[in-house]
C-alpha cells in the first residue's frame, strides 16, 4: 500500500485505500480500542500491570477489543493513562488507572457511562459522538496553552505501527524532499524557517547543514544526538517512544539535505525501552523501503543505525559523542575544526538533537513560512520542555517560542503542588540557571534567556517551591557536573571540584570558630565568583563553560540565602542538615529516653523521667531525635 499512498497526491487515492487510511487513523473503528500509555513514564507508574488487568477483563467478559501501547501524551503525573474508544464515540482519556481501577473503568465505559472518578478529556473525531461533561483535549488547561508540533502524535498513535504514521501523513515530507527538491533546496528551506538547534547551543540548523553540504567529501555523516542525560529531562525519550517515525523521517530529510547516506542515532544505554521502540521502527521503515539503497527509485540511499552510549553526560557534547561512536574515550575535542567540516572518522558530520530533527518533517510539509510564523523574532517554532519538580502536573509540554515562564508554571502545569509558594524555576538542565519569581515574565526565547544568564538548554524545567534551599540546589547541580566532567581540561576538572567543596563547606555544620577552617571557608566563598569566571572563560567544551551557571545564577537571584548560610549559619528551607539545630523543650520532654538511645553520636544527655538536653557541639543535625520524639518536645531551629 505504501507506494500508492506515498507516491500519489492525497486526493488521488482509490476509495478502498481511503477506507483503510480512515481505519488506520481510527476515524472509524469496528471494535473497541484501548490505548495505554506505556512509555517509560507509564511503565514506571504501573502500566504493565494495567495492561494485564485489561487483558484479563477482556478475556473474562469475552469482549473483543484491541489493546494498543502508546507513548507518553505528556501528562506524566497522570500515568498510567488509559484511553478508550468505543465504536461511534470519541476517544476518551482517563488518568491514574492502576490495575485495580481497570474493572470499574471498563465496566462503565463499555456501558456508555463514565466511572465515578470522571475522565481527563476526550479527543474529537469526525462523525463521532461526544461524551457529555468531558472537556475536549484542547480545552484542558494543560493542553490549551500548548502548541504541539513535534509532540502532535505522541501518545496518540501506535509507535510500533508505521502504517498509522503514514496514514496520518507521515513520510510524505521525506518522499517530497527526495523526489521534488535538491539537497540545497532543503538546506535553504530549513534556513528560511529559522529553525535553531534544540539541543542547547541554538545554532541555526540550516546554516549547519549548508556548511556540511558545501564541504566536499566522499563520505558524510548525520548523527542524531539522543544522549539525553540532564537530570529531569526526558523529551528525547518521550519523543522516540511516542512517535519514532517522525525522527526517522526527519533524519532521512536531513541526510538528504547534507548529502550523507549514513546516519547514526546515538542513544544512551539507560533507555532500553526507547531503543527497542526505535529499533522496531527502523526495521519497519527498512521493510517499507524508506531506509536502504535507492529509496523509491530516487537514487538516494540512506542507512540508519543505532549506536549506544555507555552513559556519560559529556557524550552529549558533539565532539565527545563523535569520539564515542569512533570507539574512543568520550572526551571533547577542541573546535575548530567543527564536526560539520571534520567530524566522525574525519568526515563532515552534522550532529542534531532529536527534537531538531523531529521538527523537520513538519517544516518541509507546511513550508518555512508556517514555521516562521510561530515564535519570536529570533526564536522560531516551538520548544518541548520536561517539567519536573514541585509543579502540580509534571510531564512533557510543548509551547510556542515566546510563551512566558509564567504561563508555563501557572497555566499549563497548574502552579505549585500542595499550595506551597513558588520559589524558583531552573531552566536549561544542570548547567542552566535558577530564576526567581521576578523572572517569570521572561518568555521562552534564546536571546531573552541568555540575557538573564540562563539558557534554553535541551529543555529541562525544574519548578521549586519554598521548601527548596537554593544553596543546596547549587550544590546538587555542582556535584552532578563535577561527577560528569570528563576530566580532560583543568578548569572544569579541578575548578568544579573546588566550587563543590566551597558549597559543601558553607552547608556543613560549622566547627569551632576559633579554628583555621572558618577562615578558609570565608576565603573560599570569596573565591567562588572568581573561580566561576575562569571556568566559564577557559573550559574546553560547553559542559565546562556553563558549569558555573548554577552557582552564578543562584548567587544572582538568591544571594541572601547564601549570606544566611554563611553569616547566620541558617538554612531557611531547613534542607541543609548541617545547619539545623535541635533544642529540647523541657516542658514537653517526659524523659522517655528514646532520643537518648537513638542519637547516633551520643549528643543527648539526661536521665529517665527528667528532661533531656542536646549538646550542640556534638550534634550533627541528623534529625533522628526529632523523628522519634513522640511528644513533639524537640524543636528544630
Amino acid at each position: 500500500m505504501v507506494n500508492s499512498v506515498l507516491l500519489h497526491e492525497v486526493g488521488e487515492y482509490p476509495k478502498a485505500v481511503q477506507e483503510t487510511l480512515r481505519l488506520l487513523r481510527r476515524e472509524k473503528i469496528e471494535q473497541p480500542v484501548i490505548f495505554v500509555g506505556a512509555g517509560t513514564c507509564g511503565i514506571a507508574a504501573g502500566s504493565n500491570q494495567t495492561i494485564s488487568a485489561i487483558n484479563e477483563y477482556l478475556n473474562e467478559n469475552n469482549i473483543h477489543a484491541a489493546v494498543i501501547e502508546v507513548g507518553c501524551i505528556g501528562l506524566c503525573s497522570a500515568e498510567p493513562i488509559v484511553d478508550v474508544q468505543i465504536p461511534g464515540k470519541n476517544r476518551i482519556a482517563f488518568g491514574n488507572i492502576t490495575a485495580g481501577k481497570v474493572n470499574n473503568l471498563l465496566d462503565a465505559v463499555f456501558n456508555n457511562t463514565l466511572p465515578d472518578e470522571g475522565a481527563l478529556y476526550q479527543y474529537p473525531g469526525p462523525n463521532l459522538v461526544l461524551w457529555e461533561a468531558v472537556p475536549l483535549q484542547s480545552e484542558v488547561p494543560f493542553f490549551k496553552n500548548q502548541k504541539r508540533v513535534v509532540l502532535e502524535q505522541c501518545g496518540i498513535i501506535d509507535p510500533d505501527n508505521i502504517e498509522e504514521y503514514i496514514a496520518r501523513g507521515g513520510y510524505r515530507s521525506f518522499v517530497k524532499a527526495i523526489r521534488n527538491y535538491t539537497s540545497l533546496d532543503i538546506c535553504n528551506l530549513i534556513d528560511e524557517s529559522g529553525l535553531k538547534g534544540r539541543g542547547g547551543g541554538g545554532f541555526p540548523t540550516g546554516q549547519k547543514w549548508k556548511i556540511t553540504y558545501n564541504t566536499p567529501s566522499d563520505q558524510k555523516y548525520l548523527i542524531c544526538n539522543a544522549d539525553e542525560s540532564d537530570p529531569g529531562t526526558f523529551m528525547d525519550r518521550a519523543l522516540i517512544e511516542g512517535d519514532p517515525h517522525r525522527l526517522i523521517e526527519g533524519m532521512g530529510i536531513a541526510a538528504y539535505a547534507v548529502g550523507a547516506n549514513q546516519a547514526y542515532v546515538y542513544i544512551r544505554a539507560e533507555y532500553p525501552e526507547t531503543m527497542s521502540t526505535l529499533e522496531k521502527a527502523i526495521s519497519q521503515a527498512r521493510d517499507y523501503g524508506l531506509i536502504g539503497a535507492n529509496i523509491l527509485d530516487s537514487g538516494f540511499s540512506f542507512y540508519l543505525n543505532i549506536r549506544i552510549g555507555a552513559g556519560a553526560f559529556v557524550c552529549g557534547e558533539e565532539t565527545a559523542l563523535i569520539n564515542s561512536i569512533e570507539g574512543k574515550r568520550g572526551t571533547p575535542q577542541p573546535k575548530p575544526p567543527h564536526p560539520a567540516v571534520k567530524g566522525l572518522f574525519g568526515k563532515p558530520t552534522v550532529v542534531n538533537n532529536v527534537e531538531t530533527l523531529a521538527n523537520v518533517p513538519a517544516i518541509v510539509c507546511n513550508g518555512p513560512a508556517w514555521f516562521n510564523a510561530m515564535g519570536t523574532e529570533n526564536s522560531k517554532g516551538t520548544k518541548v520542555f520536561a517539567v519536573t519538580g514541585k509543579a502540580r502536573y509534571t510531564g512533557l509540554i510543548e509551547v510556542a517560542m515566546g510563551t512566558t515562564l509564567k504561563t508555563i508554571v501557572y497555566d499549563i502545569v497548574g502552579g505549585i503542588k500542595d499550595y506551597k509558594r513558588f520559589k524558583a524555576i531552573q531552566i536549561g538542565g544542570p548547567s542552566g540557571a535558577c530564576l526567581d519569581e521576578s523572572c517569570l515574565s521572561i518568555c521562552v526565547d534564546y536571546e531573552a534567556l541568555r540575557n538573564e544568564g540562563a539558557m534554553m538548554g535541551s529543555g529541562g524545567l525544574v519548578v521549586m517551591d519554598e521548601t527548596t534551599c537554593m544553596v543546596d540546589v547549587a550544590k546538587f547541580f555542582m556535584n552532578f557536573l563535577q561527577n560528569e566532567s570528563c576530566g580532560k581540561c583543568i578548569p572544569c576538572r579541578e575548578g568544579t571540584r573546588r566550587m563543590l567543596e566551597i558549597l559543601e563547606s558553607i552547608t556543613r555544620k560549622p566547627v569551632d570558630d576559633a579554628k583555621h577552617e572558618t577562615l578558609e571557608r570565608f576565603k573560599g566563598v570569596m573565591m567562588l565568583e572568581e573561580l566561576a569566571e575562569v571556568i566559564r572563560d577557559t573550559s574546553l567544551c560547553g559542559l565546562g563553560q556553563t558549569a558555573p551557571n548554577p552557582v552564578l545564577s543562584t548567587l544572582k537571584y538568591f544571594r541572601e540565602e547564601y549570606e544566611e548560610h554563611i553569616f547566620d549559619r541558617k538554612c531557611r528551607a531547613g534542607v541543609c542538615k548541617g545547619l539545623r539545630t535541635y533544642v529540647i523543650d523541657t516542658d514537653r520532654c517526659t524523659g522517655c529516653t528514646i532520643c537518648f538511645r537513638k542519637c547516633p553520636v551520643n549528643a543527648i544527655i539526661g536521665t529517665q523521667r527528667n528532661p533531656h538536653f542536646i549538646v550542640q557541639d556534638k550534634c550533627i543535625g541528623c534529625g533522628i531525635c526529632y523523628d522519634f520524639c513522640k511528644f513533639n518536645a524537640i524543636n528544630s531551629k
Partner: protein, 574 residues
C-alpha cells in the same frame, strides 16, 4: 597565504592554516603552554595557552585555534593572566606539596609556570587526590599523585610508540592515567622506552633509581665495581651540569667515575664494535644462505620487547647478537674473574645508559651467567649526573683519563651508535669489508644521517646490492614492517631505535632538551667520525684480541654461546 593579524596592538604576519601559537612564536611572542607538544595533535586540555580574541566570549586556546584574518589578539591582558594563574593555582591545589623531595625539583614545568605567573599565595585549599606509586617496572616509576593529566605521556605512547600502555581512566576529578586493569607497568604492554618520562612536565614519571644499590656496592670491600659507559653519554651529560649542549665530556667521565670509586672503567663503545662485527658476520651468513627478508637489529631493548609483545612473528628476523650492554655484561662476568683475579660473584657490573629500557633488559632471564646477573645496575644519564654531584666532583675542573683495558679501544663507528642510523652505518662499513673484501671508498653514508624517522640506502658490496634502512620511533618501524609484510624485498638490514632520533634522545637523557640540543649531541658524535683514524668496527684491535684469545672468530661456537641470546613471545597483551 600570509596576512596580518593584530596582537597586543601591533600587526604581525601570520600564515593561513597555522595555529595562533605558531604565529605568535614565530613573531617572538611567548605564551606559556603545558599540554602542547610540537608534532602531536593538539588536545586543548590544559588551557594555559589561552589568549583573548576580540569578538569571542570565552578565551581561546592558542595551541589549537587556527589564525584568521580578522583576529585581534591580546596575549597578556589582565583577564588572560588571571585565567592562567587561576588554572595553575587549581593544579597546585591538587598537587602534593613536596617539591623539595621531588625527582624533578628544579626542572619542573609546573614550578616554572608557578614562578612565571607569580603564584605567591595558596588561594584554593581542598582535598587532594592521593594515588599509590607504581613501582612494578624495573625501568620506570609512575606517581599519579603528581600527575597533572596533561596527557603528553599518553599521546607519546599512543602516537609515537603505538603501544598505549597508559591511558586515561575514570573521569572528572577521579580521572587518572593508568595502566591496563591497573596492573602496573611491568605486567602489561609497556616497553619501558621512557619517552613518557621525557615529556612529563612534573615528577609523575621518572626512572627507577638504583643509586642506593650502587652506593652499597661501592662501599662493600668484597665487591669489585666495574662500570662501562654508553657511547652517547659523553655528548649528552653536559646539559645536566648546565654546560653547552653537545659538549663532549669523554675522558672527564672516566676520571670522575674513578674518583667516585669504581675499580675499572670500561667503554661500552668497544662492545658496539663487537656487536657490529658479530652481527655483520651473522648477516653475511644469512645472505650467503639465501634467507629471505631483512635482518632486524635487536640492540634496542624496548624494540625487542615491542616485537615480543605485539609482533612475535618478527622474532626470527631479529639478530641474536646481544646488545652492547649485555655483550659487556657477558664479557665482564665471564672474563672478568681472570682479569681482576676475583670470583665472578664479587664483580658488580654497572652500566651507564641513556635509556630506561636497558634497566629492564638487564633483568631479562637470558641475561644471566650461571645464575649471576650480567649487569647488576643500570644507571641513566640523569642518575650518573646526580652521582657525580653527590660525590662533589666538579666535572669541569678535573683531568681527562683513559679507560681501562681490555675494553677501552673503540672505533669512531661505534660512537655513531648513539644516532639513529649509526648502527646501520657502522654495519654497512663492516659488511662491505666482509662481502667485498675491501673498505668502502667513502665511509660516510650521508643517507643514513639525514632525514627524520626513516633513512634508507642501497649500497653495492662486491656482487651484492644491499638495502639498509634505519627507523626511529615504533610507529615508523611498524610502518616499515607493514611494507615488508606486504612484499617489500629490497632490504637486507633494518636498524630500529625506539626513541625518535635514536639514543641521543633516549628515555634516560636530560629532560627538557630541545631539538637543537639533540642536534648538537648528534654533531658531536659525527665529529668523532670525522676526526679519528679508526673508523670501522672490524679494525678494532681489542675486538681482534678478544676473538684471538677467547672466542676464536665471529659467530664461532664459543661466540654463539657467549655473545648471543634468544627471544620469546610475550603474553603481556593477552
Amino acid at each position: 597565504m600570509i596576512f596580518n593579524i593584530e596582537v597586543n596592538n601591533k600587526e604581525i604576519k601570520a600564515r593561513k592554516g597555522e595555529t595562533i601559537l605558531e604565529a605568535l612564536e614565530r613573531n617572538g611572542i611567548t605564551v606559556p603552554t603545558l599540554c602542547h607538544m610540537e608534532g602531536f595533535s593538539p588536545t586543548g586540555a590544559c588551557r594555559i595557552c589561552v589568549v583573548e580574541v576580540e569578538g569571542k566570549n570565552a578565551l581561546i586556546p592558542a595551541c589549537s585555534y587556527p589564525v584568521e584574518e580578522w583576529m585581534k589578539i591580546k596575549t597578556h591582558s589582565p583577564r588572560v593572566i588571571k585565567a592562567r594563574r587561576t588554572i595553575v593555582e587549581m593544579l597546585l591545589s591538587n598537587h602534593p606539596d613536596d617539591c623539595l623531595y621531588c625527582e624533578r625539583n628544579g626542572n619542573c614545568e609546573l614550578q616554572y609556570l608557578a614562578i612565571g605567573l607569580n603564584v605567591r599565595e595558596r588561594r584554593f585549599a581542598g582535598k587532594k587526590t592521593v594515588h599509590k606509586k607504581d613501582l612494578s617496572s624495573p625501568g620506570m616509576v609512575r606517581n599519579p599523585s603528581k600527575c597533572i593529566l596533561c596527557g603528553r605521556c599518553v599521546r607519546v605512547c599512543e602516537e609515537k610508540m603505538i603501544v598505549s600502555a597508559i591511558d586515561f581512566i575514570r573521569r572528572g576529578s577521579r580521572m587518572v592515567i593508568g595502566t591496563k586493569a591497573n596492573h602496573g607497568f611491568n605486567n602489561q604492554s609497556c616497553i619501558s622506552c621512557g619517552q613518557c618520562i621525557m615529556v612529563c612536565p612534573t615528577g609523575a614519571l621518572y626512572e627507577r633509581s638504583r643509586l642506593a644499590d650502587l652506593q652499597d656496592a661501592l662501599h662493600n670491600p668484597d665487591k669489585k665495581v666495574v662500570v662501562h659507559v654508553s657511547p652517547t653519554i659523553s655528548v649528552s651529560l653536559a646539559e645536566e651540569f648546565g654546560l653547552r649542549p653537545g659538549k663532549d665530556l669523554n675522558g672527564l667521565i672516566s676520571s670522575a667515575l674513578r674518583k667516585i670509586g669504581f675499580d675499572r672503567v670500561f667503554d661500552t663503545t668497544f662492545a658496539v664494535d663487537l656487536y657490529v662485527l658479530e652481527m655483520a658476520t651473522e648477516l653475511s651468513r644469512r645472505i650467503a644462505d639465501g634467507i629471505p627478508g631483512p635482518m632486524i637489529s635487536a640492540c634496542c631493548p624496548a624494540w625487542v620487547q615491542f616485537v615480543e609483545t605485539f609482533h612475535p612473528e618478527l622474532i626470527p628476523r631479529l639478530t641474536t647478537t646481544r646488545s652492547p650492554q649485555q655483550l659487556m655484561g657477558a664479557l665482564i662476568k665471564n672474563l672478568g674473574p681472570g682479569l681482576l683475579n676475583v670470583d665472578a660473584t664479587e664483580i658488580f657490573n654497572v652500566s651507564v645508559m641513556p635509556c630506561t629500557a636497558k634497566k629492564y633488559e638487564s633483568q631479562r632471564e637470558e641475561m644471566t651467567v650461571n645464575g649471576l646477573i650480567h649487569t647488576d645496575v643500570v644507571l641513566t644519564t640523569r642518575e650518573l649526573a646526580s652521582l657525580i654531584k653527590l660525590h662533589g666532583i666538579d666535572i669541569q675542573n678535573i683531568e681527562t683519563e683513559l679507560d681501562d683495558p681490555p675494553f677501552n679501544i673503540r672505533s669512531s663507528a661505534g660512537k655513531l651508535a648513539g644516532a639513529s642510523g649509526g648502527i646501520a652505518e657502522s654495519l654497512a662499513r663492516t659488511l662491505h669489508f666482509i662481502l667485498a673484501g675491501d673498505e668502502m671508498f667513502d665511509l660516510k653514508i650521508s643517507e643514513l644521517r639525514q632525514g627524520n624517522s626513516r633513512k634508507e640506502v642501497y649500497l653495492t658490496m662486491g656482487s651484492h646490492q644491499i638495502g639498509i634502512a634505519a627507523v626511529s620511533g615504533i610507529s615508523e618501524a611498524v610502518k616499515l614492517m607493514d611494507e615488508i609484510r606486504a612484499g617489500r624485498k629490497d632490504l637486507h638490514f633494518v636498524e630500529v631505535m625506539t626513541c625518535p632520533g635514536g639514543c641521543v634522545n633516549g628515555g634516560g637523557q636530560h629532560i627538557g632538551a630541545s631539538d637543537r640540543d639533540i642536534r648538537a649531541r648528534l654533531k658531536s658524535l659525527y665529529d668523532y667520525d670525522d676526526k679519528e683514524p679508526v673508523r670501522v668496527a672490524h679494525k678494532n684491535a681489542s675486538v681482534h684480541d678478544l676473538f684471538r684469545n677467547h672466542l676464536d672468530y665471529p659467530v664461532s661456537d664459543k661466540a654463539l654461546a657467549m655473545l648471543h641470546t634468544t627471544f620469546k613471545r610475550s603474553n603481556a597483551t593477552e
